[in-house]
């Protein structure tokens, strides 16, 4: 790939920031007086300067094992995109996957091995020394208890660790803060198997989620969202249809935003609801024969009996049950919050029963093609380990890819009893900072590896570039040598890889692995399925004292269990639900807020029975049940790099230390609340929360949408004086003339986009993709609070009441609309904003003087200003401290202070495609150009193309009856056509 020279070159070249006039450029041609060009020693053959090279690999940000393509330029990884060959994510990628680059280039990465000296401070040592100490300690500790903690590793690394531990008589504990114990236990209860099946969202006809945040962090979010949006997205045509989606949970997560109906049940009662529905379905017949065994269980849970406990009236339960049963091939999933109550396992079991009664098991719930998450260790294992450590029966503790010191409050104390602690880490996180020996690991993008996320899939991970930290070593290689393996970890991986016939190692690596399908096995009802909910009413488990409220601690969409907190892209990514950046918050229903007389930004002091407290700022929202509080995890790091340290609260601290009945961790606690009088501004993207998004987002009922036929345009209501038409015709002609100049596009184009709101979930993967592609600066918490952020693409989220008064959320991406009659263009005094012949609103950064008139005149407010020089070396607001700047896209100018910037439909990608087309003497084809946002979108909601090409997808979609333009009565003639969101159900 690259030799050391390149890194030096890029350092130098990227050292060039815009002095005076010049706008800084990623591609390094800058105003430096004498600039040096350092040639390759040996140039690798797949390496053409100026042309990106893609390396297939596997994302290791979570256990889902999505396939990725790492885009490299001149030997540097500059962007990560989904690998179309991967059956998991089919070329899509979530925000966290995109952001793994900032883990690779993080300025606070560990550079060398460190060891604690006598005074307990970490000091640099050599690798030889480090490995010497480690082997020594391990030899001494043989038999005295050696423990290796890793994250969930369904991979060769995991196997290697097992081997080594077996060899030295230690044990391998895998720890994931969110480990799905309830899911496994619930499956065991209902089906007698602790495996985690694969859920087929794509072919589900009716989707019911009991708390499962399957588009955020649950199991395999990208895959699930991809499937979900293809099922839930509106299919027009002769049998127009979509799968209805009902979200059942006390708080709206990203799933709640997309629900056609949100049922805000009482926490802990989800299981009762499921059983009641199962009862109704069984009554109406059509349940499998052996479901009869359940009848007395179900009889105890008739809708009427559970109505009070769940807070959902019987009629609603009846209706939902009939819809679900009638759908024939629906899918109910339980997870997330619902699987983290003390009775989580039972809830999962109940939902399994619902699936079984409705006959979905084997159809949409497939055992056989099981997910790797089943192999994760349980929280009980960790608490057990902590007990051993406290008892002093552990001599050596090695950690890799897990940070229990952050997520388990008691861990540090327990680990303190261990004489020798070793940490493989890329960053000095809480666990590593406590270790006696810290070994700098390579980032997954720098080393070999693999992942087996699902039975039948062997996903490979290859280094996409030379190590950023030249003195770091891959944990795989280190462990391999410790385990006495001859050869590198790569050889080990290759050795474990079993070739499907006809595939060589080379093309396995080239395509990102070997992808097969495991046959699904049939599953019957387990023996003691009927025994669940025998004891006390479910919610009793959550009953607290007087003036105590249930606090739901849930995984943050972007920061997850805290591992994302060191990445500015994720910190500055507005949370899909709350739209808050860089901060923690507690969700509070307006009624509750009114009762306590608090409003947005007021601090609450939350006290649990166990005495742990948290000071969190309030975010008032209708998206949570009254009397319930919700806090995301992820912030509150003591140490984890400059972007994570000392931000607000670590929600894990609120949680009880002990494992619960099913060996999992309870993420819901009862807590008393104290209103403090302190206040701060929320760092939020949201402007005026009272607004409902009228004129921005259009809705249709399924019935209405289905009745629409081609040629109808229900949203066309603009009254434009006829004289404008002739004016525009002439203007268009002039533009066309310009395009023929030199004919750099083969035909006068009108670049345009279509966004299908019935598919868009608001997951915000596009936002991070845009940041990565377009060198958008992250500005930090203070400037975010002062609304200085620059999200070219933002996801707007409004709450509005449906006719029946139930809360519904609507979301839409908002980006430059590339208007044909753009208000921003005529007002620019220097033609920095102008209309390009191929139909874009050009923004010429180096011409802009920064009058900001364009931003005032843009009704969509999608233009952003560089208030400071975010590229300034060592500046107060430096966005890319080295080596973060290595990620900068060489094809996009890094903007200087004082210039306006905005989305240009990834004009650099358009030009790149045009260049190639011209060099190959061919015309541009539809699909040659894919902007970053469309490329990453997990739900295919965004389509880009040429409106003037009658055969392009975007042209077809822009004719769709659901199509509308935002603020179309301003006659800006936007290039973006939105397709109205369709609500399955009686009302929109």
């Amino acid at each position: 790939m690259v030799d050391g020279m390149n890194r030096r070159r890029f350092l130098k070249v990227l050292g060039v920031t815009g002095g005076g006039a010049a706008v800084v450029a990623g591609c390094g041609i800058g105003p430096e007086p004498t600039e040096h060009l350092i040639p390759y020693l040996v140039q690798s053959e797949d390496e053409v300067p100026g042309v990106p090279t893609f390396y297939a690999s596997t994302c290791r940000e979570c256990a889902a094992g999505c396939g990725i393509l790492v885009k490299t330029r001149e030997g540097r990884a500059i962007k990560i995109e989904g690998n179309p060959a991967s059956p998991i994510n089919a070329g899509r990628l979530c925000a966290r996957g995109q952001a793994s680059l900032q883990g690779l280039y993080n300025p606070d990465r560990l550079t060398d091995p460190f060891a604690k000296d006598a005074s307990g401070k970490l000091g640099k040592i050599t690798w030889e020394d480090a490995l010497g100490r480690l082997t020594g300690k391990v030899k001494d500790a043989k038999g005295k208890g050696i423990v290796f903690i890793t994250g969930l590793e369904a991979s060769s690394f995991g196997d290697l660790v097992d081997e080594w531990m077996k060899h030295v008589g230690g044990r391998h504990v895998t720890y994931e803060p969110f480990a799905f114990e309830a899911l496994r236990e619930g499956n065991r209860m209902a089906f007698g198997t602790a495996a985690i099946p694969s859920y087929d969202f794509a072919s589900a006809k009716y989707i019911l989620s009991f708390g499962a945040d399957f588009m955020e962090t649950w199991l395999s979010p990208v895959a699930f969202q991809h499937g979900f949006s293809s099922a839930h997205g509106f299919q027009s045509g002769r049998d127009a249809q979509m799968a209805k989606f009902v979200a059942v949970s006390p708080r709206m997560s990203l799933e709640g935003l997309n629900a056609d109906e949100w049922i805000g049940v009482i926490p802990g009662s989800e299981g009762l609801l499921a059983l009641a529905m199962a009862y109704v379905i069984q009554k109406s017949g059509g349940a499998p024969g052996d479901a009869g065994r359940l009848s007395d269980l179900l009889n105890r849970h008739r809708p009427a009996l559970v109505a009070d406990a769940t807070g959902v009236d019987a009629q609603t339960i009846e209706r939902l049950a009939k819809e679900f049963g009638g759908a024939k091939g629906g899918l109910a999933v339980a997870g997330g919050m619902a699987a983290q109550y003390p009775n989580g396992a039972e809830i999962v079991a109940a939902v399994n029963i619902l699936n079984y009664v409705a006959g979905n098991v084997g159809k949409t719930v497939k055992f056989g093609a099981e997910l790797a998450h089943g192999q994760a260790g349980s929280y009980r294992e960790l608490t057990g380990l902590m007990a051993d450590m406290t008892a002093g029966t552990v001599a050596v503790l090695i950690t890799h890819g897990a940070n229990p010191a952050y997520s388990v409050s008691g861990f540090t104390a327990a680990a303190g009893k261990v004489p020798f602690r070793v940490a493989f880490a890329t960053m000095l996180d809480e666990t590593a900072s406590e270790a006696d020996l810290v070994l700098p690991d390579l980032h997954p993008l720098e080393q070999w590896g693999d992942s087996r996320p699902r039975a039948g899939i062997f996903a490979l991970q290859q280094p996409a570039m030379q190590p950023v930290q030249s003195n770091a070593r891959g944990a795989g290689d280190v462990v391999a040598s410790l385990a006495g393996k001859t050869g590198s970890f790569k050889d080990y991986v290759q050795g474990r890889w079993r070739a499907p016939k006809g595939q060589t190692w080379a093309d396995a690596v080239q395509h990102g692995g070997s992808f097969g399908e495991a046959p699904s096995t049939s599953t019957r009802l387990g023996a003691d399925a009927g025994k669940i909910f025998a004891g006390a009413p479910a919610t009793a488990a959550l009953a607290g004292g007087k003036e105590e409220y249930p606090v739901i601690v849930y995984p943050h969409y972007a920061l997850y269990d805290g591992r994302g907190a060191n990445k500015p892209w994720l910190q500055e990514l507005p949370h899909p639900v709350s739209k808050i950046m860089w901060q923690s918050w507690v969700e509070l229903h307006p009624d509750t807020a009114a009762k306590w007389a608090v409003e947005n930004g007021d601090y609450l002091l939350i006290k649990t029975a166990s005495g742990s407290t948290a000071r969190v700022t309030v975010w008032v929202t209708p998206s949570i049940r009254p009397g319930v509080l919700g806090i995301p995890t992820g912030q509150g790091h003591a140490t984890y790099g400059r972007y994570a340290e000392g931000r607000d609260v670590n929600a894990f601290d609120l949680l009880p230390a002990a494992a619960n009945s099913y060996g999992g961790r309870t993420f819901t606690v009862m807590a008393s609340v104290e209103v403090t009088r302190d206040h701060r501004y929320l760092a939020t993207l949201e402007g005026d929360p009272r607004e409902g998004g009228e004129s921005i987002i259009e809705l249709l009922t399924l019935g209405k949408a289905a009745s629409l036929h081609a040629g109808q345009h229900p949203f066309e209501e603009q009254e434009v004086p006829t004289y404008t038409d002739s004016a525009e015709a002439g203007w268009a002609a002039a533009q066309r003339e310009k395009t023929e100049l030199g004919n750099y596009v083969t035909r006068p184009t009108r670049w345009a986009m279509a966004i299908d709101l019935s598919k868009c979930t608001g997951c915000s993967a596009c936002v991070t993709a845009c940041y990565a592609e377009n060198n958008i600066a992250t500005v930090g918490e203070e400037l975010t609070r002062r609304r200085r952020f620059l999200p070219w693409m933002r996801i707007e989220r409004y709450f509005n009441k449906s006719e029946s008064g139930s809360v519904r959320a609507v979301t839409t991406p908002m980006l430059c609309q590339q208007c044909a009659d753009a208000p921003c263009e005529p007002v620019c005094p220097v033609f920095a904003a102008y209309h390009t012949p191929d139909g874009l609103n050009g923004q010429v950064y180096n011409r802009c003087v920064g009058t900001r008139y364009c931003a005032n005149n843009c009704p969509y407010k999608v233009r952003f200003f560089n208030w400071f020089n975010y590229a300034e070396r060592g500046g107060d607001h430096e966005a890319w401290p080295t080596p973060l700047d290595w990620q900068l896209n060489p094809d996009v100018t890094v903007r200087e202070k004082g210039v306006m910037e905005k989305c240009t439909f990834c004009v650099q990608r358009i030009r790149f495609a045009e260049h190639n087309a011209r060099v190959e003497d061919r015309a541009l084809k539809d699909g040659d150009i894919v902007p970053a946002c469309a490329q990453g979108c997990p739900s295919d909601a965004i389509v880009f193309g040429d409106l003037n090409d009658p055969h392009s997808r975007v042209h077809a979609l822009s004719e769709d009856p659901r199509g509308y333009h935002v603020l179309q009565d301003l006659n800006t003639k936007p290039g973006i056509t939105y397709l109205a969101r369709v609500i399955a159900g009686a009302e929109a």
């Binding site: 591609c27 004498t34 100026g50 750099y744 010429v844 950064y845 011209r918």
Partner: protein, 186 residues
């Protein structure tokens, strides 16, 4: 295997050069690169290695794209890797002492794995994107001279054109090709 591919092509090239030199007698008088004694009065920056385009491209008639081989497919022409140099200079060690001295530097750099740090001559500001391949495509393989001057007969490379926007525009106007801003500025 890059090595082999590289050097095989290089060998062929060396033979070709040899042949042309042999034929030189009856062939039309070929360009002879001057003997340079006083390098101080040459225009342009002094490079770490006194590489002479006039000898390589002029006298030996090596096509520009033998070394700058990505210029037809990429926005960047590419700086030849040291391996490319060595492809020939494993065998060719120069005729005159000064030449031998320079070639010795190349071989040293190769053995030390310390590529020379060339001083950049042609520079554009970062907000300008100049696609080389499009210009070669439009103007032909020998169009390099349009912007870089008659390199083939230049002893030491110096900037001969202003490379300022006005200069670009002038040509785009003459050739009646696009003058849209976002073709170069984005």
């Amino acid at each position: 295997m890059t090595m082999h591919g590289g050097s095989r092509a290089a060998l062929a090239l060396v033979l070709l050069i040899g042949a042309t030199q042999a034929l030189a007698a009856q062939a039309a008088p070929r360009y002879q690169a001057p003997q340079v004694t006083d390098t101080a009065r040459l225009k342009g920056p002094r490079q770490p290695i006194f590489f002479r385009h006039d000898i390589h491209a002029g006298q030996d008639q090596i096509p520009c794209m033998y070394c700058h081989y990505t210029v037809k497919v990429s926005t960047e022409p590419g700086i030849p890797s040291l391996q490319t140099c060595m492809g020939c200079h494993q065998l060719i060690s120069g005729s005159t002492p000064p030449h031998q001295a320079e070639i010795a530097k190349v071989r040293k750099a190769w053995s030390d794995k310390q590529p020379p740090e060339w001083i950049r001559v042609h520079t554009l500001p970062g907000f300008v994107h100049f696609p080389h391949m499009r210009h070669i495509k439009a103007l032909g393989d020998n169009a390099c001279a349009t912007c870089h001057g008659d390199i083939a007969h230049t002893t030491q490379v110096a900037q001969v054109q202003t490379l300022r926007m006005g200069w670009c525009i002038r040509c785009h106007v003459e050739k009646k090709v696009t003058r849209d801003c976002t073709v170069c500025h984005y």
